[in-house]
Symmetry: C2
Subunit: 342 residues, 2 copies
């Protein structure tokens, strides 16, 4: 029964810093690749037994302090009525992107149990199989980041369709964001009902916006989601490339702020104030270097927080080329360091 992660999220003092890795269920694990030889990405997502299996792999193999459900942030967009394709090698795409107000009409707030029940079933199954060994994290994209993918039709270099819409017809884009917000609120509440003990909100593309536009465009729908979950479980807001947003994020009503590797955590702390628990932030590419280097960088990261109000993690998802022994070295370095430093 290891609840270190949940205690740290609530800002309680714990005997050591908990650790998990974004995308810890993934291609760097031979055991994951073995599952994927039997089933494609969407099939794994939609088959609770397979999703549960890969969710549990890193808990067993790495000894992390939390499990995070294997799923994709784009699944609720499919449930909203958008056709979603995963092409091997190319990643996800929406063949019919949504770029005008009229096109929003084809979308709806889905009935979650009906259209995303497989996620809920996987959560229930993982909770049962974990038997309390470590907490289980659910997650979703923020409305802004969900809209970013749907408007572009997938990933993008410049997100020019999204941004053009944001400048040309902000009220129209706000309708799409509102729909994404209502969907996410229902979806994530259902994840909590199904057993998720914390929720991470991924704002992968929030950093495209300056602080003023982030506050105008991304924050209102995000607050709608946050308000539907607050007080139930700890909330983690993660933003990539968002160093310029930190002073604004200080006031975001979530317990935990996840950040990338670009700013050391002592500087992040000075920008977001004393309250937020910080999650992060080793450069995932550091796990491609030698273990001795990983250890010294973990030590620097933990010194930057003093182990206080800190959940150790990477600053972005683990890279598929990461050697498993290096991921393990990362976890072990966190576990080893913390007790001595307190």
């Amino acid at each position: 029964m290891n609840d270190l992660f949940l205690r740290a999220c609530r800002g309680e003092r714990a005997e050591r810093v908990p650790v998990w890795l974004m995308r810890q269920a993934g291609r760097y694990l031979p055991e994951y690749r073995a599952v994927r030889e039997r089933a494609d990405f969407l099939t794994v997502c939609k088959t609770p037994e397979l999703a549960a299996e890969v969710t549990l792999q890193p808990v067993r193999i790495l000894g992390v302090d939390a499990a995070i459900l294997f799923a994709d942030i784009l699944l609720p967009l499919e449930a909203m009525g958008a056709e979603l394709r995963f092409t091997p090698g190319d990643g996800p795409s929406f063949p019919r992107p949504v770029r005008r107000r009229e096109e929003i009409r084809d979308l709806r707030v889905p009935e979650v149990e009906e259209s995303l029940g497989y996620v809920l079933a996987a959560l229930r199954l993982v909770r049962r199989e974990l038997g309390g060994a470590v907490p289980l994290i659910g997650f979703g994209g923020t409305p802004w980041t969900l809209a970013a993918y749907l408007v572009e039709g997938g990933g993008s270099q410049h997100f020019s369709h999204l941004l053009a819409w944001s400048y040309g017809d902000p009220a129209g884009l706000a309708e799409l964001l509102d729909l994404a917000a209502r969907t996410s609120r229902a979806y994530l509440a259902a994840q909590v009902d199904a057993g998720a003990q914390a929720i991470q909100l991924f704002d992968t593309w929030g950093g495209l916006l300056d602080a003023e536009r982030w506050r105008a465009l991304a924050l209102p729908p995000l607050l709608h989601v946050v308000e539907g979950l607050r007080g139930r479980v700890p909330l983690i807001y993660y933003v990539n490339g968002g160093a310029h947003l930190l002073p604004v994020l200080r006031d975001l009503p979530v317990e935990v702020l996840g950040v990338d590797w670009r700013l050391p955590l002592d500087q992040v702390r000075s920008l977001v104030g004393p309250e937020k628990v910080l999650q992060g932030n080793l450069d995932p590419a550091a796990l491609l270097g030698p273990p001795s280097e990983i250890e010294s960088r973990v030590a620097a990261m933990l010194r930057a927080t003093g182990g206080e109000r800190h959940v150790a993690n990477l600053g972005h998802g683990i890279l598929p080329t990461t050697p498993v022994e290096n991921a393990r070295a990362f976890v072990q370095a966190v576990r080893r360091f913390a007790p001595e430093s307190r």
Copy 2:
């Protein structure tokens, strides 16, 4: 004879804020597309008459205060011995990326007039055709950014080969960076000899690094380039996604700091100190919105600097989907605003 841009770069008081646009010679212009119907990208780069023609188009069409030579930052890598391909739609690629110390041996510091003489010829031609109407900017990538493309073999989402090398064998990567630095130093000095009146250094991928690693990896080769040019012409260092690097860039010995749109220029100013001239920083996507919106955003940008020590520009290259009238509205808004505000 409009030397507003050069005076602003030197920090002299000028009667209004000069303005140009990154990638102002490009696909958003029908006149550029007409040239590209006759010749592919590399042919335009390597044919001085065509390069000169597209370089001059935005001066005539938009009325910008500076010309920037049409070229590609990857050309010196080809001159170093790397095979470079431009595939329509896919952008540039290096079929044989350089990822290990041994592979550096196939590269050399090129003799510039011999291997990049077409760039120098284009510069001379543009200077002659401009007849002093506006200054001409030369440019190159920073060693870090050049190495990023060469190691990955083109653009990349995570730059994991580059970063793996930086963690696994930093001394090996430093050899490649040194080679890129010596090449850039010679190449850019030759650009100045050929008539470039300012040099912009593009550090497109500098923002991948935290400040400590930027200082350790990217700065030494950059300083080698800067030291070869200092005092000859004004130097502009541009970084994308580098808000977290600004306190370090305060001490970089260049006259002008170009930044993206993520931080308002008054905040940039407070981080980099009073000396640097700032270049930027309207969100290029703002030019996809209505002209009235462009005008109010330009006004906000100019209020943030008070028109002091400022070269107006976008925060990144102009998007190919930008309507020409919106690019013109941007330029006109800068020209109109400035006199009243001083």
